[in-house]
Symmetry: C2
Subunit: 157 residues, 2 copies
DNA sequence: TTACGTGCAAATAATTTGCAGTCCC
DNA sequence: GGGACTGCAAATTATTTGCACGTAA
């Protein structure tokens, strides 16, 4: 594969295009390198699927399906590995919403979620919801994160 | 369904003892019958383990271990079934805290949780934490429940 | 070149299910 | 007695791991 460091001195026109400021693929590679992950073919493809469409909530299985549909050859194991690597790197946030599968959120900023029972679907809570007075964390502890999940059910049942 | 009221006229001494006002086992049987569950040996034993010691956060595996230690013969499948039946009956509340196992909470009132990372331990948030202004639920939806999990980490890392 | 990544299949973990036998009412 | 309940083992689902091979730096 061609090397694509944007500031490495190169002269191919193709490279110039790909490395151009604002080229999404190049940005993605930078993003990966920034967090210490080698920008491999599958990481870039998966990163593209994850980050090119705004905020998403996705499971490993869903991402795998999507990769298959997009003709991106990648194994399910690599999808799992990649999701966890991205999460550790701070590119994703993992959400425990029901006891079984994990959801990954491409929006890593503080925000909360609606969960639609039955649909198994996650929706960002739009407004800034302040969680009221949090009690002090117990001795020697600090708050790492606060997760709020508002469970919704279809009206009239 | 037949009711086993503690004052129902019976003449066996053993029954008298078990049915006596304030006898926890009898209370438990009533509790089960009230929610439409037949008070079987294993449901009573598990109910005893669950409800006799104040508020608890327990997984199926933990409850099974505890039953084994208490020499209560019960299968893991029955533990799972029982936990779910109790949950549907409103005697327990199921919590999704990490992506894998489920926790069951014997406190079914509105309250929130601390989760200690590493320890895999759940603690009730003591004070009443009001979740700030909840945005209106989307069209045709209503809020079933709000879960707040405050993730704690050991200080100084 | 060489350590880091990836794919595959097998392993694990948590949970559910089918069904024959058991127990409560 | 009869339907509800349980136990066991096998099935499922979600996820992880070991290891040979591929590939980015």
């Amino acid at each position: 594969m061609i090397e694509l460091r944007p500031n490495a001195p190169r002269d191919s026109a193709a490279h110039e295009m790909l490395a151009r400021r604002g080229c999404p693929v190049s940005d993605l590679k930078d993003k990966l390198r920034h967090v210490g992950l080698r920008p491999t073919r599958q990481r870039i493809s998966l990163g593209w699927l994850l980050f090119a469409k705004g905020d998403r909530h996705i499971t490993a299985e869903m991402l795998y399906e999507e990769a298959m549909r997009a003709r991106v050859p990648v194994s399910l194991a690599t999808v799992y590995n990649t999701l966890h690597q991205f999460t550790e790197a701070g590119l994703l946030r993992q959400l425990a919403v029901d006891g079984s599968k994990s959801y990954f959120d491409t929006n890593t900023t503080e925000h909360h979620h609606f969960f639609v029972e039955g649909d198994e679907q996650l929706i960002d809570v739009p407004a800034d919801i302040a969680v009221g007075d949090l009690p002090a964390a117990p001795e020697g502890m600090e708050i790492a994160r606060v997760d709020v999940i508002v469970r919704l059910r279809r009206k009239g049942r």
